[in-house]
């Protein structure tokens, strides 16, 4: 299935849910959707063009918004679904009912950006350590790393 077929199918079948379709390079398609349409669009694409492989989810901190990019691979290139959620209310629906392999990437998003994934089957931290302070999200642009002072028991003050 070529890029043009995919774009046309997406426009015809899911046109009302898709805000924008970009085709910046061969075998790269970027689809922009509203966050409340995300699961429906992914389910629709899975049915229409057999999209089953989620490569990863990238989060980008844009200041007052977060951009989420769901990178899907298909037989003939790559399709990315882009959505934006406000920083004040960082919530998005889990993809796991449609793509069960998405949980690890969603858990990573929760850890690194503090995005709340609604209805995720397993919301435990994935990559951050157990004693990690709450409300510290390392990949947000306003977060900087401060090394905790090392205290050697019995050492010099």
């Amino acid at each position: 299935m070529t890029d043009l077929d995919i774009i046309e199918k997406t426009r015809n079948r899911l046109g009302d849910k898709v805000a924008e379709i970009a085709h910046p390079a061969p075998r790269r398609i970027f689809i922009t959707v509203e966050p409340h349409n995300l699961v429906a669009v992914v389910a629709g694409l899975k049915k229409e063009i057999g999209l089953w492989y989620l490569a990863t989810i990238s989060g980008v901190d844009l200041g007052d918004h977060f951009e989420l990019l769901y990178h899907f691979g298909h037989d003939n290139g790559n399709l990315t679904i882009r959505t934006r959620i406000p920083r004040a209310q960082p919530q998005v629906e889990s993809l796991s009912p449609v793509i069960p392999g998405s949980i690890l990437y969603e858990r990573e998003l929760q850890d690194m950006f503090g995005i709340i994934i609604n209805h995720i089957p397993d919301a435990r931290p994935l990559v951050l350590p157990d004693g990690w302070p709450a409300e510290n999200f390392p990949l947000r642009k306003d977060w900087t790393h401060e090394r905790t002072p090392e205290i050697i028991p019995g050492g010099k003050k």
Partner: protein, 400 residues
Amino acid sequence: MKFTIPIGPQHPALKEPISLRMTVEGEVIRDADIRLGYNHRGLEKLAEQKNWIQNLYLTERICGICSHSHATCYVQGVEKLMEIEPPKRGLYIRYLVAELERIHSHLLWLGVAGHEAGFDSFFMYTWRDREVVMDLLEMISGNRVHYAINTIGGVRRDLDDGQAKKILDGLEVLKKRSEFYFKLAASEPTFVARLAGVGYLSKESAMELCAVGPTARASNVPRDVRKDDPHAVYDEVPFEVCTADSCDVLGRAVVRIKELFESFKISEFLVKNLPPGEIAVKAPKRAKPNEVLSRYEAPRGENTHYIKSNGTDKPERLKVRAPTLANYPATVEMLKNGFIADIPLIFAAIDPCICCAERTVALIEARTGEEKIVRFSDLRRLARRRDHPLVSKRNTVWPF
């Protein structure tokens, strides 16, 4: 009675320190739980503070076995962002190193599989052969592990005719030896029987859990980035996507063996058709605001890098997805309803980077919390002795 066995986080059987908790009933694994992050180095955050060329050396250090994969995935994305086209000769040398790396990684994996199955002479032979390709890589790049041959806009070292001849000679040796040893493995019924039926992952599960690389291809999912998304030279090079339909560790071995021969073919093609000319172009310091998604088929599966630039000499965002992460959910699925004795083999099947040191497993009794230590060598001995009851194993023949 159910027990929970913790494996990891610090465990020599795992390449990265991850923690797995196995819930077992007798000898059968009923559930496996996964906890990552013990080796999280904050690399994506660090990349935002380093410039494009520094990040090249950072990405090369993501992995030790497939160091060239991440560097290449990054560099081919950055070249798109900077709108430069590396010369053909540079690209041929870059992907020649990539294929030689795949050969070394797959030979390493085969040895580990032999070792975990209790066929240690096989392990020693394949690792001896691996030295041939390691020497070739050292000759091309000057390094054995972190080749550092990539630069933004091409490669750093050229090949001369003498080196090209040495590579072809080395490949000839490797091909002959590989054929001989694979026949050897095939004629060893205990080896084939040990791998067959272990770590079953159905095609549906592999697709649902987004498995990648040889793990997915062994479940008959013909997904290979080199074919689906032919980056750089792969649309000019003749090769086949290798799959198997047995969905078990035997299938994963067969896929990697077939891929070895494909890689010999690709490397030969690249050396014989090496175009003349420059090996690199000069790269600018900055990249215009843009974004790019770069994909690369590493020995273990698909690497994905998402790179966003903002007009400065540093990236706005670098997202890295390594293939092993994508294969963890599938591993959990493979372990379910398997045996404790199969754990080393199933892990080895997704991940070739396993140190062969002595290993220990702590057994915690779920009710009393009492811990017992069982050495992994004991588990392996158990594994070798055990008579597997699966019907599919009877009269299994080497499918290659």
